[in-house]
Amino acid sequence: MSASAAIADLYRDKYRRVFAGVVSLVGEFELAEDAVQDAFLAATAQWPAAGVPSNPVAWLVSTGRFKAIDAIRRRKALRELEPELQSRIAAIQADNGEVSEREIADDQLRLVLTCCHPALDIQTQVALTLREVCGLTTEAIAAAFLVAPPTLAQRIVRGKAKIRDARIPFAIPGPEELRQRIDAALAVCYLVFNEGYSASSGAAHLRDDLSQEAIRLGRLLCALHPDAETFGLLALMLFHDARRAARTDGDGDLVLLADQDRTLWDQARIAEAQDWLARAIAAEPVGAYTIQAAIVARHAAAPSAERTDWAGIVGWYDALLEAAPSPVVELNRAVAISMRDGPEAALPLVEALAPALSSYHLYHSALGDLFRRTERSKEAIAAYGRALALAQQEPERRFLARRLAELAGCDEM
């Protein structure tokens, strides 16, 4: 491959890695962006004659770092710098710019943790992560989240200013804090995925891209911080994504899991998800993402809704209630029990959740379903009616309206 083709490939595929290596050192986004540009320019000037170095990413990172250090020097003398930055610069110069694979990975993790810092609001975390870690453009992120590009640009500017002025460090914290911080990064990743997966307004393909980006980010996190929950989240996203084609019908209406055409499920994705799930369970400790992935895995393995391992699913919901207790998990567990033991067994469990979930449309919809299955159509109509009044999204509203119409038909007969 020619030097210029190699550079073009690196620019497309490895730019964010190089950027992470530079920004983690100097802690300034604009400066790092310029320095990385300069490093690629230097490669264009030197590689055609000198040949492509054996580790081109490491070459670009160390060149970018030297460019950034030069720029800092032009602004102020080295001795005026923060002691920490001073010593890192000294270390880099001492080992003559050798950058290891491990160091590059750590720098990427530093960048992820900085972008997902809890001192930034969650929307800013998402925007910064997508732009600085994943390399999406401001316009693409804005389109996916249905906000005006200037609004998103402002969010990113504010986020960077906060990182700079409040000195959010580009650092990997100690073990006890790292868990929380990784969880925050996983939460951002899953939020991006769900934004692309569950919402149905806006341009569908942009939202699909968002899910694919989240899966890419999930893979990156698995490489940077291999642990049970990171694997579990990737498995969970892959399982969901495998069902994408079956989730909506030709009119864009939601198709419930029970009614999906299972031949449309992406078996290769499911197999990959199962691998990650097995790794997650082996890695321990089993956390909420892994448990959710295990539940979805039971569905993915089932030939139909009836022939699903509902007993196994109830067991995993019991585990989820312990790991991450919430009324919504209790509701889902009750629905699984209705599949295992019949709707009569689940009704009292669901009704007991009324105080906590009375304003949640899926609560009323689940209740309506149980009434429908026990042939209490009057109660079912009332419950679906409450669900329809609370539901926000169009496809869900259409689904509920259909159910109501069916029940009204039964009633007349």
Partner: protein, 246 residues
């Protein structure tokens, strides 16, 4: 700058005292590591005076600049390397358990006299801290030239105070968009973006002075450019010596 906001009703007098004692212990540990610049508890917010200047007229009202449940009960100036370190320090202070500690990065300003937290006020002199609350929209509307002029005017005021021995310290803070709030609830550390409460005007800086009485402090507040577009809240330091490293 760490600002401790607590609902004053959250403590019994004994608990409030215990909080000050425990906070002092944290301060001692920080001081030993060279990370404490200054710290001071504040008297109840009801004793505050707020100063605004509108159309050239000085308006002084009793009480803090905003009626919030949680009120500024003390502050700590610390010198740390990163926000993570500031968060760790904030989590150690007892007010984080019942209220909120707001972390605000301090912005260096040229032309300001050297701080003298270390020298206690002379006999017959009281130390006040003036908290300057700004309306960012107003300043934006006024434009960057007006802001630069205001900063120069403030710096000149401080030089004048210093020449009279009245100046202790002053600094603007970075905009409120850089604020981070820390709370401890059920033993868990909660870190959130933003200030402790959404108010219309936000703390933009502080000025600490040694003067004879409240009226002298009001006169200084009235001259501060921030009083013309925002509010300057005057709080007497509870124990003047605790503002200086002992």
């Amino acid at each position: 700058m760490l600002l401790a906001y607590v609902a004053e009703s959250a403590w019994t007098p004994d608990e409030a005292l215990a909080c000050v004692v425990a906070s002092n212990r944290v301060c001692d540990a920080l001081r030993a590591r060279g990370k404490l610049v200054a710290a001071a508890p504040l008297p109840p917010a009801a004793s505050a005076a707020s100063v605004r200047v509108r159309r050239g007229e000085v308006l002084v009202t009793a009480g803090p600049f905003a009626e919030t449940v949680e009120q500024l009960g003390g502050f700590f100036l610390i010198d740390v390397a990163s926000l993570d370190e500031a968060i760790a320090v904030a989590a150690e202070f007892p007010p984080a358990q019942r209220g909120t500690i707001e972390i605000r990065p301090v912005q260096p300003l040229d032309g300001v006299p050297d701080v003298r937290f270390d020298s206690p006020p002379l006999p017959g002199v009281t130390r006040y801290v003036l908290f300057c609350y700004d309306d960012a929209e107003q300043w934006e509307a006024a434009g960057p030239a007006a802001l630069a002029a205001a900063q120069a005017e403030a710096a000149a005021n401080m030089q004048q105070l210093a020449s009279r021995g009245q100046y202790v310290a002053a600094s603007p803070l970075h905009p409120v968009t850089t604020a981070t709030s820390v709370r401890i609830r059920q033993g868990k550390r909660l870190v959130t973006d933003g200030p402790f409460a959404e108010t219309h005007e936000f703390l933009g800086g502080y000025l600490m002075v040694d003067v004879r009485d409240l009226n002298a402090a009001v006169a200084i507040a009235a001259k501060h450019p921030g009083a013309r577009l925002g509010t300057v809240e005057i709080r007497r330091l509870l124990d003047p010596t605790s503002a200086s490293p002992v």
